[in-house]
């Protein structure tokens, strides 16, 4: 259980990559992405945080969007990773691993002695 919300700065830094990762298994829609992220321990993700990211990804060509019909209206907007998006996810994930390791090592060992 998450004891308290993650600092906003950390969320800002990590959320883009984690949203891309949430889309990796296949097409999904806004609330399902938010729910998946909450279940993963990121806390409640608001629509006002999620959709600007998705819009930005769509503009960058990392994701594609498609409306699937619902019972009485336009239904749901499904987002899926494009080839560029999959490449971006792979690149950013590798880079993040490096960053995470750097932070972790620094926290463990402290500053290198000169």
């Amino acid at each position: 259980m998450q004891p308290k919300p993650w600092p906003a700065d950390w969320m800002r830094a990590a959320l883009s990559l984690c949203v891309l990762r949430t889309l990796a298994p296949g097409p999904t829609y806004g609330y399902a992405i938010a729910t998946a992220l909450e279940a993963a321990g990121f806390g409640a993700i608001k629509g006002g945080t999620l959709y600007p990211l998705l819009t930005r990804f769509e503009a960058a060509g990392w994701i594609a969007a498609e409306w699937r019909p619902g019972a009485g209206g336009p239904g749901r907007k499904y987002f899926s990773l494009t080839d560029d998006g999959q490449q971006e996810l792979a690149d950013q994930s590798a880079h993040w691993q490096l960053f995470s390791t750097t932070v972790h090592d620094h926290l463990q060992k402290g500053p290198a002695e000169s």
Binding site: Y29, Y31, G48, P52, R56, P74
Partner: protein, 267 residues
């Protein structure tokens, strides 16, 4: 009295009614928020298809999450900016047309205001005084601000104090020259018949509003419902706001004209 007894129908009925009321209030608030969001995207010059997509996405999320729009998305104005959607290319000829039509309407409004006082007093002649020419010149200089004033008014529609201050400012600007005519600038430059000038001014005031209304109806950038491709009309409130913004000068001119007659001191 509230009890924990499961067969206490009074309690469960009131709980159910309370939930329904809360749900109805949420839906009403969310519908109003979606209207505001639509207006904000329009003000940002986002194309109709993109507005339809963004509004439907927000509606879908709110429906799925059961959240209040204000809590989930924040203020409609801020969220519209944060989405950073592509906007329509700036149409300079359209901007010029807006300035021209507003300018013609404004000249009609000012001149009509200037004819109302002599007409209300039963005077057929309009003495063109120095202050009238000056006020007309100042009005034309302020014309460049008109599109901005309209968008500021639309943005401030939920803040009565701000709207009141803007309307008071516009009213003062409109009524001020009439009041000044009593105390200042009495030098008569020439005299012309008041009634034909008033009719001409009325036409100048009406024509741009009619022109803009027809243009709006003919060249609507319709909001497209995603998935279905169907064009959706904005809510009645949004449509009324658009019509009101177009006709505001005509309404203001008509009210001022009637008030001048009604309040003119009888001899």
């Amino acid at each position: 009295m509230m009890t924990s007894n499961p067969i206490d129908h009074d309690s469960s009925d009131s709980d159910t009614a309370g939930i329904r009321l809360a749900e109805a209030a949420r839906e009403t608030d969310n519908a109003a928020w979606l209207d505001d969001f639509t207006i904000e995207l329009r003000l940002l010059e986002v194309p109709g298809a993109a507005i339809g997509d963004a509004v439907a996405s927000a509606r879908e999320f709110l429906s799925d999450s059961g959240a209040r729009a204000e809590e989930s998305f924040g203020s409609a104005a801020r969220y519209a900016v944060e989405l950073d959607l592509p906007t329509l290319p700036e149409d300079k000829s359209s901007n010029r047309e807006v300035l021209l039509t507003n300018g013609i309407g404004l000249i009609g409004l000012v001149v009509l205001g200037q004819t109302s006082y002599p007409l209300a007093g039963g005077d057929d002649g309009l003495a063109v005084r120095l202050w009238m020419v000056v006020s007309l010149g100042v009005t034309l200089l302020l014309l460049g601000l008109m599109p901005r004033v309209v968008s500021v008014l639309v943005r401030a529609r939920n803040r009565p104090l701000t709207v009141g201050l803007i309307v008071a400012g516009v009213s003062f600007g409109g009524i001020g020259p009439v009041l000044l005519s009593v105390w200042w600038g009495q030098a008569v430059l020439l005299s012309i018949p008041a009634l034909p000038v008033a009719i001409g001014a009325g036409i100048l005031l009406l024509a741009p509003a009619i022109w803009n209304q027809v243009r709006q109806n003919l060249q609507k950038d319709l909001i497209i419902e995603p998935g279905t491709g169907a064009a959706t009309l904005p809510s009645r409130g949004v449509r009324l706001l658009a019509v009101g913004a177009n006709w505001i000068m005509v309404v203001y001119g008509a009210i001022s004209f009637v008030l001048t007659f009604a309040l003119y001191p009888s001899n």
